[in-house]
Assembly symmetry: C2
């Protein structure tokens, strides 16, 4: 089980490849609408200290740091390779308000109350103990500080034309992520997880990606090259694990591509939650 988001560690390469939405920065850039949908309402005041826990290869880091140029970001990941790539991206973007640290999210090298804000995106889905991770992050926040959590939910996926085979292919991903200790259906749980970890004033809002032919950038950037490519990318692992017959998996992927035609529709929902560390906590 991964103890933290991990681009190259405990999960197989085949599983990891194509999995991380954040690896698709180039594709998401084609669909700037998606970046806005997730991040437009996240900005941090000048001078505030922000911990990004699980920065991966830095796709969110660049967006965050650009949107809050006066805030000071500390971005952490367990993988040195990911951090090296994240650092390259941040440098390429000409940003100077980010420093990187390699660390496990369950053993972060910071003093209590070191940060004003914490940001966690596409991370909890990989953890077998998400509430414990949130509690650790809460200790690093000053009283009154906030945490922002963004997670997807594969169970929020539906489309036209509908297809049982496509749902079966997606279910392989859900099963594999669960067997790796994660939870691909965690988006709907952001509210109860933040509450259970003791955050106050928790507010969750869904961020639904709705795609039809009138939105060609999302058809290509999200339905085709992010979501369907991710499912396509688990083919070998899913077959090796005996989760599905090859013909059925391939039909499912074909049916996902079918939703990108002129009469097709594709829906997926991310959940964004914000909570506050109480003054007495």
């Amino acid at each position: 089980m991964p103890s933290a988001p991990n681009e190259s560690g405990t999960m197989s390469e085949t599983y990891v490849h194509g999995y991380h939405l954040r690896e698709n920065e180039r594709l998401q850039d084609q669909a700037g609408a998606l970046v806005d949908l997730l991040h437009a309402d996240t900005t941090y005041p000048d001078g505030s200290r922000v911990l990004e826990a699980g920065c991966g290869v830095g796709a969110q880091t660049v967006t965050l740091a650009q949107r809050s140029p006066g805030a000071r970001f500390t971005s952490v990941d367990i993988s040195a390779d990911s951090i090296a790539e994240a650092r390259r991206r941040v440098d390429r973007a000409g940003l100077t308000n980010v420093e990187f640290r390699q660390a496990d999210i369950f053993a972060l090298p910071f003093n209590p109350e070191s940060f004003d804000h914490v940001f966690v995106c596409f991370v909890l889905e990989h953890l077998s103990r998400p509430v414990e991770a949130l509690a650790i992050l809460k200790r690093l926040l000053r009283p009154g500080g906030t945490i922002t959590v963004i997670e997807g939910d594969h169970g929020s996926t539906y489309f036209y034309p509908d297809s049982p085979a496509a749902h079966a292919a997606i279910q392989c991903q859900v099963t594999m992520q669960r067997e790796a200790g994660g939870n691909a259906l965690i988006g709907r749980q952001v509210y109860p997880l933040l509450v259970e970890a003791g955050f106050e004033a928790v507010s969750v809002s869904p961020r639904m990606v709705y795609v039809d032919a009138s939105r060609p950038a999302l058809v290509d950037g999200f339905t085709r090259k992010t979501f369907t490519a991710m499912i396509e990318g688990i083919r070998e692992s899913a077959l090796a694990a005996g989760l599905i017959e090859p013909a059925r998996f391939d039909a499912g992927v074909r049916d996902l591509y079918r939703t990108t035609e002129a009469d097709g529709v594709f829906c997926y929902t991310f959940f964004k939650g914000v909570g506050k560390k109480g003054r007495g906590a």
Copy 2:
């Protein structure tokens, strides 16, 4: 198969009872947020002629007419009983800009190009030929006029804690509606249906109802008393049709109520589409 929305006709009373979201006006009023979510962006200019096709008992009629006091509404339903109830509601609300007509949506007693706008809410889901209905409504629109369509989609339902039994109970509703000639998954199809009917500049936006314990009016008014009550209301019909075992159905309903507890989450999405009749159409 119903040829038009029909509160008391071809479908069994048990099936109809509890089904129509619009019957739950009282409950939706507890959750004014839902009315805003669906209708806040629908207003018509003074003097415009608006056809509401399939007004049922008038829940939407009151909202529409209040929001556009200078527009003149013609609200049609196939059921005389529904129209009588709708008229009572409109009178009670003190509205004078609505007239009612009893008619089948496939045989509307109006001349071509009689209306500036058409509004259709929770109607197409009951029709076996929704594109044909839309084409008929398009003929009644003047060139440049708009149509607004709102539909739910039961396949957009997911929740925490997750429950296969709850999904099985919901599936009974989907199956029964399909066997009655309708489509409980039609929300995701609003875009392709409007395009196929020949409307131009079609724009669809999802209206997701996200419910967690921080939104108690929606917990009670939507999850408990609208959606779960609707599923509970089909129990006898679903069992009589042999669609599910009683114990499994009851477990499903129990699990839907379970989502209204402090750590529960419930999600449902409506789709709202607007299209325009072309100048050359």
